[in-house]
């Protein structure tokens, strides 16, 4: 066996831990059947496995429950958000959304008066937006107008009157909720085991 390449320490351990693929395992087995040196190294480590396995548990010296419970601090009940609960909530929310979408054609809204306010030209809107940058300029004339025009329109699907100011408010509200939601979700992400 002088010229045979011996099994490495890592291969030997991987073999014992069952981490090798089938062809490598077979080649290691073949080598072990021929090489007394590697076989004795294997026996040595296998002996450690057996000795560790032979260790029995010590019996409980006493019931530690009363001691542990006596030192248990108070704790606020955590919100229960299990996978099952999350799935159920998702299904219910999805169903309600589907019902709402299906109900749209059957909803009869009162006929609305035509909106009188004309929709301004896009150039005018841009000019107003550009004017905003002078909002904090100290030498503005006193009658300088900074307000954006409020555009009113009907939503195409459900024919509800809405204005740009409502839209901006809704978007800002959604953004705020998103930020708050992320803060709640991402706080205390540290593992308890560290």
């Amino acid at each position: 066996m002088k010229h045979m390449k011996h099994i490495t320490e890592e291969q030997l351990n991987d073999y014992l831990d069952n981490l090798l693929d089938e062809p490598t395992r077979h080649s290691i087995q073949a080598h072990l059947s021929l090489c007394a040196e590697c076989h004795s190294r294997l026996d040595e480590i296998e002996g450690v496995f057996a000795k560790l396995e032979s260790l029995s548990d010590i019996p409980m010296p006493r019931d530690l429950t009363p001691l542990i419970m006596a030192y248990l601090p108070g704790r606020e009940p955590a919100p229960v958000w299990t996978r099952g609960f999350a799935a159920q909530s998702g299904i219910v929310a999805g169903f309600l959304f589907w019902v709402a979408v299906q109900a749209i054609p059957f909803v009869r809204l009162p006929s609305l008066p035509p909106l009188e306010m004309p929709i301004p030209e896009i150039e005018a809107l841009i000019a107003r937006l550009l004017a905003l940058q002078f909002k904090f300029y100290p030498f503005n004339p006193p009658d300088f107008d900074f307000d954006l025009p409020v555009v009113q329109f009907y939503t195409p699907a459900i024919h509800l009157p809405i204005s740009t100011s409502y839209l901006v408010t809704l978007v800002m509200l959604a953004l705020l909720l998103w930020v708050i939601g992320n803060v709640i979700l991402l706080r205390n992400r540290k593992s308890p085991q560290s």
């Binding site: 351990n13 981490l19 480590i45 450690v48 560790l52 032979s54 001691l67 704790r75 955590a78 085991q193």
Partner: protein, 180 residues
């Protein structure tokens, strides 16, 4: 996957039910104590570590995924508690010889003594290993974690875990050569 009973208990603990937690302590204290005993080597320290591990578990129970079994989670908390203690304290190899003899009667007193001495010798050799080797032996051989899980638990590279485990086994093989 946790059993439905265990899941129910965990759910109650999450809602702050102390009685449910007491039931978890009763059911798992022996396993936790044994993990601590193997790593610390004496019953008093193991009891303290057990207590600390359960207190930590209670404190962080809202982070526990109730779909998973509790026992491995508790064992990993215990390993971390013991690791902190080993790193802070001096290494101690003081096995309690007669403090807690096994309850089961053996066929003969001689056989009992021989087996007890053998077990004490194995335990003391594990305890004489450097802490990082001791911990990987505990996680691999007693908790049967995979290499990747050990690396994740100890927050160390996989290659380090493998080499520590190989060396730990080699050292034990050398030191326990004279034991059958």
């Amino acid at each position: 996957m946790a059993s439905s009973h265990e899941r129910g208990l965990a759910l109650r603990v999450k809602q702050g039910d102390r009685e449910a937690f007491a039931e978890i302590v009763r059911a798992n204290q022996r396993v936790v104590l044994n993990v601590a005993y193997r790593l610390l080597g004496n019953v008093r320290d193991a009891e303290d570590a057990t207590q600390e591990a359960f207190l930590r578990a209670w404190q962080f129970f809202d982070k526990f995924d109730i779909e998973r079994p509790i026992n491995p989670w508790l064992k990993q908390i215990t390993v971390n508690v013991c690791l902190n203690r080993i790193q802070v304290d001096k290494p101690t190899i003081s096995l309690d010889e007669d403090l807690y003899p096994p309850k089961d009667p053996r066929p003969s007193p001689e056989a009992h003594t021989t087996d007890r001495l053998r077990q004490e010798r194995i335990r003391s050799e594990i305890l004489s290993l450097p802490p990082r080797y001791r911990v990987v032996i505990e996680l691999r051989h007693f908790q049967e974690l995979r290499y990747e899980e050990i690396a994740h638990t100890l927050k160390r590279p996989l290659s380090d875990i493998k080499s520590d485990l190989f060396r730990a086994r080699k050292m034990l093989a050398e030191r326990l050569k004279d034991i059958a």
